[in-house]
């Protein structure tokens, strides 16, 4: 057993990534009948990293994401979250462990207000079996929901029906819902899909501003977003890791270019 360490030293240790990657996969494989969509992938993401996953069409990015978040069971291999084996856990359990996810097709409650959308997500972290107390009695949940709305820039629209938000605002709300579950790892699936240039820039800034104390995995096709946000990039091709590195390294990697241009 480790002897007790005083606060500053322990903070420094935590900062050093604590040597346990936030997420790690070992030989992760997912097959659909004869097609191997994810092929023996060894992948890891460290604390407070922003990692982008890119790759040409059919590279297996969505399937990989779906395996990580429990939406699809892996055919073989392991997934470790903070050192704990989470392979085979269903999505709700994975969410409780601290992984939150946004979806490619906006997945919000259109008939609830912006605040309610986020509050419901925040509430999921409490035992919700008490039917006698009104939700407004849970002050801390409402405060947390309001704080999340502020961080995604939607506090001014707290009482607006989610269906009435613009596309960009809805996508940001989706990020807010994920944030409200107090995750350690945030997985964003094509967060800027269908957005205008202005909305895209706003979302990039938003992700940068929430990145503190959070590890972020992001699947994207928009290269400006990827290069602007990512600390490191993983390139997938035919279900395998083709290359990994900083944005500059990836941009100068001839294999990556080859695969994208099909030369």
């Amino acid at each position: 057993m480790q002897p007790a360490i005083d606060a500053p030293a322990s903070a420094k240790k935590a900062r050093a990534g604590a040597q346990v990657p936030v997420l790690r996969t070992e030989a992760l494989t997912r097959r659909f009948g004869g097609l191997t969509a994810v092929n023996n992938v060894n992948f890891q993401v460290n604390r407070e990293e922003i990692r982008a996953i890119i790759g040409p069409n059919g590279a297996g990015k969505s399937t990989f994401f779906n395996c990580l978040t429990g939406v699809l069971p892996a055919t073989s291999g392991r997934i470790l979250f903070n050192g704990e084996d989470i392979t085979g856990l269903p999505p709700d359990r994975i969410s409780l462990k601290g992984i939150a996810r946004s979806y490619q097709i906006t997945n919000i409650l259109p008939n609830a207000t912006t605040l309610e959308n986020v509050r419901i997500a925040a509430q999921s972290r409490r035992h919700a079996w008490s039917m006698l107390k009104h939700y407004s009695a849970y002050h801390d949940i409402i405060e947390r929901a309001e704080a999340v709305l502020k961080s995604v820039g939607l506090y001014g629209k707290a009482d607006e029906l989610a269906a009435n938000l613009s596309h960009g605002e809805q996508r940001n709300l989706e990020i807010g819902i994920a944030l409200a579950t107090e995750p350690l790892l945030l997985c964003l699936d094509e967060p800027t899909a269908g957005m205008s240039a202005v909305e895209t820039r706003d979302t990039v800034q938003l992700v940068r501003s929430i990145a503190k104390n959070l590890t972020i995995l992001i699947v994207e096709h928009d290269m400006d977003v990827v290069m602007g946000l990512a600390d490191r990039i993983t390139v997938l091709n035919y279900g395998q890791v083709l290359a990994e590195g900083t944005p500059t390294e990836i941009q100068n990697n001839p294999k990556v270019l080859e695969v994208y241009l099909k030369t």
Binding site: I54, P56, N57, G58, T106, S166, H167, Q170, E190, A193, G194, M195, S196, A197, T200, H221, D222, M223, V226, M227, V235, I250, Q251, V256, L257, Y260, L261, K262, T263
Partner: protein, 244 residues
Amino acid sequence: MSTAANDAPLIAVEDLHTYYGKSHILQGVTLHVGSGEVVGLLGRNGVGKSTTLKTIIGLVQPSHGKVVFEGNVVTSMPPHRLARLGMGYVPEDRRIFRLLTVMENLRTGLDRAGMTDEKKRALLEKVFAYFPVLAERRNQAGGTLSGGEQQMLAIARAMMLEPKIILLDEPTEGLMPRMVSQIRNIVDVLHRENVAILLVEQNVPLTLEASERVYIMEKGAVRHHAAARDLKVNDAVIHQYLGV
């Protein structure tokens, strides 16, 4: 051989805006294809290339902008009328009729007004000459064909309409290199038959080789337009919009 834009173009789209729900997929697409021309449409995933084709063939309604075919505005015409007017469509996932035989697949396009038995036989012979493997498998169910064979069937099926233009969506995706060169040959064949082609692709060398002009899309709009012979695979503009 016709050159591009001698008269009005065969197809012209102007300032197309298309939404899926609130998602603004096409943010003002403008392009044109001349009679008998092969035009390439390049771009990364998710930029709206397939949606552009779907909007042209009427499978998706734009919220703004227009599609003009042979001088007529056809933006709100239903797809089956556009097919009869001479637009062929080969979608990204081929989408052949799996439970119909090869022959029945072809007949969906072959059996139309104005086709005598003579003409039908001639057209079938011609297409079977280009795709002998389809002739071999003519009584097999479409779903039993391999990926490459299904791609050929999808193209042959569109050819049954004797179209003036074929909208080809990523025909080489998922195919082995040997099949990729076969697709390349088919594009040439179609060009020789004076069928215009709007070729959506991510395979840059093939597109630059096969096309006369090339558009490059990003984030829902055309960002670059050039003659294919003026573009090389390693040009900066290719890297910018298609690379990393």
